[in-house]
Symmetry: D5
Subunit: 154 residues, 10 copies
């Protein structure tokens, strides 16, 4: 019976293939993103299996990395987004969590002041990350943009 | 003995006073921030007791709101930043938490690619929030900027 | 100083006033909802402080219940939606939680099949509850409707 | 001794076989459900191992997918329903959890108003999911129906 | 405004009144239960606010205890059943929790063997507790009875 | 060195052997229990590795199931009783947990009333499960019996 | 109605009275225990509300401390034993928790070796604490004794 | 590269070897402990990998059990003491946890009374377990002894 | 009865008195510590109620701050050390927690290398905090010193 | 396809190689650290995969330990710092956690007193561990140094 179960590639397999090819070819996420005409944040996230590739983008990526087309199925599937740590421990990610803890109520208050009773969508959403030179030490700039969604009254 | 314990104002008292005066005077956070020459995000956050006011800013704020100077002590104290919900339930704040869960590893990877082995500071940090008009529905733009901090080798 | 802090009504106060007036007048949520031309689900939820009343609806409700206009401010504020029990204990609410645990992945799979890579909004959302007669015992019917939100690629 | 332990198929094995055959044959859950005369929600849920197939339905499904009868035993067993995340992280499932958090007390209040002191069963229960076209963007409609169960006094 | 908020009795108030009257009159739960023609388990549970009294039973109880009728409203309301300790610490209650941990899968297996794919209802449910004399030390006997509920296929 | 570690059978191995033999022979837990002159609840629980078999009972069981004597060692060992879910998710087991949450304080109060300051033992304990026919739908009856243990004063 | 609720003394009240009288009279727990002919561990525990006083002991204690008899009711009630910290933080108590974590499986193995398949009762239980002089620094000796309870087979 | 990683024995391997040899030779923990002139509690704990063997004791143990010297390295390493269950579920271990919950504050109070502001060490610590015959049923006696450590003032 | 319960000062009361007197007199922790000839870390910690004052130090402190002697009892009591947040949220304290997470295993390995199988005591312990000037930005130096405690073999 | 996935060495593999070579060569962390001109704390931490090696240091380490250069890639990657136990159980690490719980607010207060509103960086950070001889028993000294980071006002 087990020969019926020859497994196809999972999203994890596809991620592993991409990470190895990226290293082998000496590419950066910025370079990969540019080559497939997408942003670096989205490209990394989709390569990690946290977003779904549109089929043509998956095809372009596989070609760029000399990877076989068998991974395309996995790359285009809707991911189940799971994270294990309710409170992340890695300092680089924890600082983002801390910002949500400290400034979350402030973001909420200013959205209500500027828009009304609603939220910023995390689905119709995009983000970019930049390096901003500064004499006192360069800065990381994170820019998020999400559609405003108004609560319904019915 | 209890008369020795006539309590002075706490940060919570100061926040309550500010919120009532703001409502009484029909002010907005943007308006208050502009009046004391600070940003709206920082001003709201400090008024909520999550940041400390420099003494002159506390004084300006009390004057603006016709509040007594007794609250200045509380406003200038270093706050103990506490949030109760490890995972926030309010949808407007949860979406920010969700973004950290989904995109945290991506932010980390791109910071490492652009800067090296380090993080974005949540202390030497600022943030702003804008409304961006769009035909498909206006968007919330959140811009964060934090100093890059490099891990030490010793 | 304390006389500056004469507190205005909170959402909790408004809820308590509504519950007492409802009992005093012998009203039902269906009756209240009909009187202010809103649905029972939304009306109860807003009265509990989990949604914000538009100002005219708050005014109509206060009039219906012979309650003073001072509560309108609280009723129209954007609520901070907090629930204490990550896993609810009340059997009536737990069963809903259980349905999410058992059928959540199924809802996700069928949304992806019918719509694509996206979710049902819980913000642009409405719900109704009906009693459906049945010979084997009447049934509760819950109908939820939320806007489909497509994940962004950028 | 170990040859005594030649394991039979588990529910997980059966799910894997079904998912692969579904992909190989290019079927949808709606198509599979129609072919075995069951609803899509129940069919997906049972295929995921969260419900038990009646023996004839398991047989029909295996025939439809050209899968061997050895999986029928696993498909008809009563499942142990386990979910790992008390609070789900995938946004599509989290929104359902959020709805329970925000509207759970409302559902409870309206059930009590319409029926008395009791609950909606999650066992004598069914659910369906539809796509409802709308000019402002199509909507997901989820309809749940569960038998009303009255608390016992004894 | 606050005079609008003269609070009526809550379930907690009613419980406190009952406990004091029970002590004052030197009654037992068994005696109270017999006097209102209900079982001791149900009577105690309802007196603690974990079940709702039918109106006539509430009236009988108040009469028995010489308590005023104002508490009847609270006693007949559908309770929100909340317990604070996911794992109870009191040894007498913990042992019940331990029995569920150790024998839960056994109860499940035997229900499936005797009935099919379903559960014992905790809603259409009753329970009694007896003292069984024994030479090696008297025993506690707990007898639970719940309606069998079959999972739906649809 | 590794040849020193030829592992003997664990309790999990023994459970797997029993489950397969039971299916192969088409036995029920009731039938197995009767054949070894023990109760169904205890027999299932011990077969799952949650209780220890007396050596003769282990021997009888192995003979009944045509299983080799090598498993007897594992079956007679004192188990370490571990359950992973502090709050069980399977509905059939959760309902038992819910009963402890709702009626735990009632069980405690009635034990104190009938016996004094003590508890029902979960060690000197037995349980049985029956199907009770009823016109309104058959019922599950669970009967627990545990020795009363009095708290010590010293 | 509220005058019906003139509350009697709770266990917490009784504990507070005892602690103040103990300080006022300059007594030790050892002294109090000796005066009522009980052990120090049990006496402190019962005074803290974690054990129930037999009526004569409660009476002796009240007399010893010149406290009124009204507290006897509270002292003789069966306590609900609750502790808030699943993992205690106070170092003196945490070390005991740590000993359970490190040596728990060892205690279990040696009980099984010396007695069979059973446990040490925490109900039919007593404990004492001594100071043992030693040249390298005095030692705390804790001696626990609990009845062996054998698991039932049935 | 992988041939560089021929792994040496871990503490878990050593534990497995000891358990098998103990069973093969029909030894008890008491017997093993006596043979290497250590106490049963310490010997079992060290064999489980929760304490480190001094090198000569490890050598004696390996000789006693006819086990190879390769395991000595693992046995003498300082262990990382990890337990998975913050609240243990096995009844035999849980009862110890319960004793800490109920009597922890009492132990603390009596240590402070007998010694001053300090704790019992869990490091400079020993424990023994005995069977104490009794007409009403034999008892388990656990005796712990730890050095008193005084808090520092500086 | 309630007049028996005129409460004496608690550690929390004493802390509040100290904080107010410190502010009134414009003192620093360093200044207070020097005045009573203790270190700043210990002095602050004891003033917060996390350590017990020796009686003469409590007396000196009360004199320094012009506070009444009634607080001395509370200041000299052995504290129950409780912290609410298992993972602290305040960034200044969280960074210390993070250091334990990242470097804890390293501290352990180096203690084992330098001392043997044991730990650094947190009871026979002291700490100091300094400001170290540096051209790249001043640094915080924390120095901890705890007695090495060797694990016992017995 | 799977031959595309010939995995390169992970940080865990590199750690395992280092630990074995260290044992084989009889080195200490102090010795290794000295040989590559880094501190013992940093060297151990980086070898455990909690810090990234600069490429030349990784090369020196591999040469020192006669390990192949293939591990250098893994050693120089930015680690994702994860720890599983929010509250560590090993006593040597727990004591550090306890120190944060007891003295965290004190560290915070003294940093604010000496520097202003800011924190000690855990990124621009170093630590060392020493053995300090003492007649009453040698002591562990841990010295941490982190850059002071001032909160931003904007």
């Amino acid at each position: 019976m087990k020969d019926l179960m020859t497994e196809s590639l999972t999203k994890e397999d596809a991620t592993a293939l991409i990470l190895q090819a990226k290293k082998r070819k000496g590419l950066t996420w910025e370079g990969i993103a540019e080559a497939i005409s997408m942003s670096p944040v989205w490209t990394h996230s989709a390569a990690m299996g946290m977003n779904a590739f549109p089929e043509p983008k998956a095809r372009e990526l596989m070609a760029l990395l000399d990877l076989p087309a068998e991974a395309i199925d996995a790359l285009t599937e809707s991911p189940t987004k799971i994270w294990d740590q309710a409170v992340p421990t890695d300092p680089c990610i924890y600082r983002l969590y801390e910002i949500v803890g400290v400034y979350g109520p402030t973001v909420k208050a200013l959205i209500h002041e500027k828009f009304g009773d609603g939220i910023m969508s995390a689905i119709d959403f995009d983000m970019k990350i930049d390096r901003v030179p500064s004499e006192k030490g360069d800065r990381v700039r994170i820019e998020m943009s999400g559609k405003y969604l108004q609560y319904n009254c019915w």
